[in-house]
């Protein structure tokens, strides 16, 4: 005799033995029936069966019968589970000691098959396109760079390559300073040997840490620091241009009065190299910086403090009043660190990007982020929490880089095209993330291993 039955076979057996009713038999213990997937039982049969209590009796009796026929009782028990009934059900049977007083109407009905469904992804298309901006110029183009970098060109949200291709992936610039800056220890230790030599620093950033570009910050020109004259700072620009063959971003000191002069001078000595001048802001003489860029063929970084309307205004000034070509403007809507206003930075950038994609001609420019700002967060550099109730923060050399990484990746999802960063480990991981989301990494790993891993 077969070990497993379908219900149909069951009834055939009943017929075969001419069984209509069995008397004087009882079943001890709870009787449960379960139907396993793939059991060939017509759901209608089950439902019909369930509707009729005498069948339940029948099954009970028949269970005993099968038992005598050397059948495994467990099979019947499994069957009953699928019906969701605890047997004995129906009318109380005085012979059965385990009778439960309540009669449960079976509720659980498990369908035989999955209901077929088709997932139709909702399509989104934007009418606008982010401007393409190229940094650096080769010899053929009037500069001396061996590589140029193009950013922008997006027609979809960042990494939504299922909507539209991403023509240029975000790139990473490493910060270089023309005098020792204040740096967190975890960052400083990677640059200790080059802190007094911006050209060597730039070389190290490119060769060892994989920088796509270099940002040279001329902070020595700050009247509150060394007050170095613009013409002297410009010499550092020339040195760095010779030291590396990647495109350059040139930053001032942040002094609103002096920066226009410093950046003008830098623009002049970098003529033809298509550097990015960082930055023009609303509260300084943006016109001078815009004009310098126009005159010497550079790009301007239009920097505003987390305000979409100010960003529109400054961009418009640079485009309309200065007459800067549309392929020569990149925006910095300001980066706040994780935990220190990242929510504002993220949403501001996301809104700017969406406006650009929707066709706002004042906002459809690539975005740059000063991701190094992440190191301003105390969680990135402080030895441990000053709050006593806090769970200890753990080693800061591990906290710092991940703080920069998470700040960067969040803004990458908002649409940032250029990251200015510092920690080599953070640079490497953010590159990995960018390449992963862009589908450039073929590596694979088992997505189920975690379910049963021990450790």
């Amino acid at each position: 005799m077969a070990e497993k039955f379908t219900l149909e076979e069951f009834f055939n057996l009943l017929k075969k033995y001419n069984v209509e009713e069995l008397e004087g038999v009882r079943i001890e213990g709870d009787l449960e029936i379960e139907i396993e997937p793939g059991a060939a039982v017509d759901p209608n049969t089950i439902n019909a069966l369930l509707a009729l209590t005498q069948y339940v009796n029948l099954i009970q009796e028949f269970g005993k019968f099968l038992y005598h026929a050397n059948m495994a009782l467990t099979y019947l028990q499994r069957l009953s589970q699928a019906f969701g009934i605890q047997l004995p059900v129906a009318a109380p049977q005085p012979q059965v000691p385990e009778v439960k007083p309540t009669v449960e109407v079976p509720k659980i009905k498990i369908p035989e098959k999955l209901k077929e469904a088709k997932f139709e992804p909702y399509k989104v298309e934007y009418p606008g396109k982010i401007e393409e901006v190229t940094l650096g110029a080769t010899r053929a183009e009037g500069g001396t760079r061996e590589v140029t970098i193009t950013v922008g060109g997006e027609r979809s949200l960042a990494f939504y390559t299922f909507d539209a291709e991403m023509p240029h992936l975000p790139v990473i610039a490493i910060d270089v300073f023309d005098r020792r800056p204040m740096l967190a220890k975890a960052v400083r230790e990677h640059y200790e040997d080059v802190l007094d030599d911006p050209a060597e620093w730039a070389r190290k950033a490119v060769r060892e840490f994989g920088a796509d570009l270099v940002t040279l910050h001329l902070i020595s020109t700050d009247p509150l620091l060394d007050d170095r004259p613009a013409s002297e700072a410009a010499k550092t620009v020339e040195e760095v241009l010779q030291a590396v063959k990647v495109p350059l971003i040139i930053g001032g000191s942040g002094n609103k009065e002096k920066d226009p002069e410093v950046l003008e001078k830098a623009a002049e000595v970098a003529e033809g190299e298509r550097v990015m001048l960082a930055s023009a802001t609303l509260d300084m003489d943006w016109e001078r910086i815009g004009n310098a860029a126009k005159k010497y063929g550079h790009v301007v970084l239009s920097w505003t403090q987390m305000d979409i309307n100010n960003q529109k205004t400054l961009n418009r000034y640079l485009l309309k009043r200065v007459g800067l070509p549309r392929d020569s403007l990149i925006m910095d809507p300001t980066t706040a660190a994780l935990g220190y206003g990242l929510d504002y930075a993220f949403t501001n950038m996301e809104r700017i990007r969406i406006s650009g994609l929707r066709g706002d001609q004042d906002l459809n420019f690539p975005i740059s982020s000063g991701t190094t700002n992440a190191w301003g967060a105390r969680e990135a550099w402080m030895k441990d929490s000053p709050i006593e109730e806090d769970t200890p923060w753990g080693p800061r050399e591990l906290r710092g880089p991940i703080w920069e990484i998470v700040t960067g990746l969040t803004l990458a999802l908002a649409g940032v095209d250029i990251f200015m960063m510092m920690h080599p480990g953070a640079v490497a991981v953010l590159k990995e993330i960018i390449n992963t989301l862009a589908g450039k990494i073929a590596e694979k790993a088992d997505e189920n291993a975690w379910l049963t891993m021990e450790g």
């Binding site: 699928a82 969701g84 509720k107 659980i108 009905k109 498990i110 369908p111 999955l114 469904a117 088709k118 997932f119 139709e120 992804p121 909702y122 989104v124 990494f159 390559t161 299922f162 987390m306 300001t334 706040a336 994780l338 935990g339 206003g341 990242l342 929510d343 993220f346 949403t347 809104r351 105390r378 402080m382 000053p386 709050i387 109730e389 806090d390 769970t391 753990g394 591990l398 906290r399 991940i402 703080w403 990484i405 998470v406 990746l409 999802l413 991981v429 993330i433 992963t436 989301l437 589908g439 073929a442 694979k444 790993a445 997505e447 291993a449 975690w450 379910l451 049963t452 891993m453 021990e454």
Partner: protein, 471 residues
């Protein structure tokens, strides 16, 4: 939510302004529904009337329909420790806000010994990080069945339940899951997961024990099929797991699946996929790499999907360096962009200061304020803290942006009458506002001391600089 204005809701309400709901007018009640602080069923007359009158009942049902979130809200756990996931209405936080922060579940597994289980559970329960006036914490514990032994799983699940946190039970084996549910179904754990292979048993378990269930498939047609089948069989609380592939093109595929699911749910109004989304950053631990790299990558995966639509996560690494960025990012992304994070400007007295104690100034950006305030309080520093209205901006940004100026400092000194409360004229400004030193001195006539860049260092700084040497 289909409606955007209280007016659209108002017409469904009794319009009697009876006040039984706790609000003065039906219109303000309608506005609260838009804010999602109350539900249509919080209107007693409407509910009572609906019981009697089928027409009103239909109206109420319609109102519930048009005011329910686009994405189904699912509750894991019970009582005041329960965690809500899903319930989202928009794709970008600036369009409204994100409502229910991604729930973070950290794992234990049943082949650990009891002591190790207790250690991990305690870490999850005790984790706290001070942030903006409150403590960030973790939501729950995921118990993985690695023994494949129903008895052991049941024991461990019982042990973990003792910690009182919401739970996710992880096992693809229905027998193990049944054993665990017999023990803790009352706690309303989320069960993980129904797949193409075990869905019938899991469907039965979800119905029998009335617990929320995760359906899991990489194939979005299959995932939707599972969700539809479960829904039609009577399961309300469904979570979708489009499978987190930890690396490479697989991770890119995961990114695409998650975005397509959420976008199709909200913009495509496909109710069959309008459920919370499960992400398992723990999958990163399958990589061949050192511990720190795996922990970093787990944090990376978690971060990507905190920004993009992950509603509930299972994570592994309990090192604070891995947890801290995750809980902080979650807070940031789920902060309501409609209400700026700021505090009342004015004067705060810290630790009952005397007239000889120092006067500090900071901004009314909540993060800055609470950081400074808690550093002073927990450092037992007595002092007077002036809080300047910088429109909710931090020190660096407000100095650069002109919200933190000498003139405003002068006004604040006047308004708070601080000159009547202290015997000296020394103001300590934040290190990041150093450039305002001269201007504030000129404007106010106070002597300005430049404090440290971070308020965590005020204590050490005071030892050097207070009381001031020159009088």
């Amino acid at each position: 939510m289909k409606v955007k204005s209280p007016l659209e809701i108002y017409r469904y309400l009794p319009q009697t302004n009876c006040g039984e709901c706790g609000y003065d007018t039906c219109m303000s009640f309608a506005a609260q529904i838009i804010e999602r602080t109350v539900k249509p069923t919080d209107c007693p007359p409407l509910v009572k009337e609906a019981e009697k009158n089928p027409k009103v009942k239909k109206k109420l049902e319609e109102l519930i329909e048009i005011t329910s979130p686009e994405v189904k809200e699912v509750i894991i756990g019970k009582g005041d420790k329960a965690v809500k996931i899903g319930g989202e209405d928009v794709l970008h936080r600036h369009e409204l806000t994100f409502f229910n922060p991604t729930a973070l579940f950290y794992d234990v597994w049943d082949t650990l010994d009891d002591k190790e289980i207790d250690e991990r559970c305690s870490k999850v329960v005790e984790y706290r990080k001070f942030y903006v006036g409150e403590f960030l914490t973790l939501d729950g514990i995921a118990v993985r069945c690695t023994s494949n032994d129903p008895k052991r799983f049941r024991e461990v699940v019982k042990r973990v339940a003792g910690y009182g946190k919401p739970m996710i039970l992880v096992s693809l084996n229905p027998e193990c899951m049944r054993a665990a549910l017999e023990e803790v179904a009352e706690e309303r754990p989320l069960i993980y997961a129904a797949t193409e292979d075990n869905w019938r048993e899991f469907l039965e378990l979800a119905l029998e024990f009335k617990v929320p269930v995760v359906v899991r498939s990489k194939d979005l047609n299959k995932l939707k099929s599972l969700a539809v089948t479960f829904k039609e069989a009577g399961v309300e609380d469904i979570v979708l797991d489009p499978v987190t592939e930890p690396v490479g093109e697989g991770l890119k595929g995961t990114f695409e699946r998650v975005i397509q699911l959420r976008r199709t749910a909200i913009l495509g109004e496909d109710k069959d996929v309008a459920y919370p989304i499960m992400i398992t950053p723990i999958a990163a631990w399958a990589l061949e790499a050192d511990e720190v790299s795996k922990a970093y990558w787990e944090t990376v995966i978690a971060s990507i999907f905190i920004v993009k639509y992950g509603d509930v996560m299972i994570l592994h690494c309990l090192e604070p360096y891995a947890i801290m960025p995750i809980v902080t990012l979650r807070y940031n992304i789920y902060t309501d962009p409609r209400t700026p994070v700021q505090v009342e400007p004015g004067l705060r007295e810290i630790n009952n200061p005397s007239p000889d104690d120092p006067v500090f100034i900071t901004t009314n950006f909540a993060l800055t304020y609470y950081t400074v305030e808690s550093d002073l309080t927990s450092g037992n520093i007595k002092g007077w803290l002036l809080v300047l209205d910088t429109e909710g901006l931090g020190v660096e940004v407000s100095v650069a942006g002109g919200q933190f100026t000498a003139a405003k400092v002068k006004d604040l000194i006047k308004e708070t009458k601080i000159e009547e409360k202290v015997n000296h004229r020394y103001l300590i400004i934040p290190g990041l506002a150093a450039r305002l030193q001269g201007a504030i001195e000129d404007e106010t006539g106070w002597k300005v001391l430049v404090g440290p860049m971070d308020s965590g260092r005020i204590k050490g700084w005071l030892e050097q600089h207070w009381p001031p040497k020159e009088k």
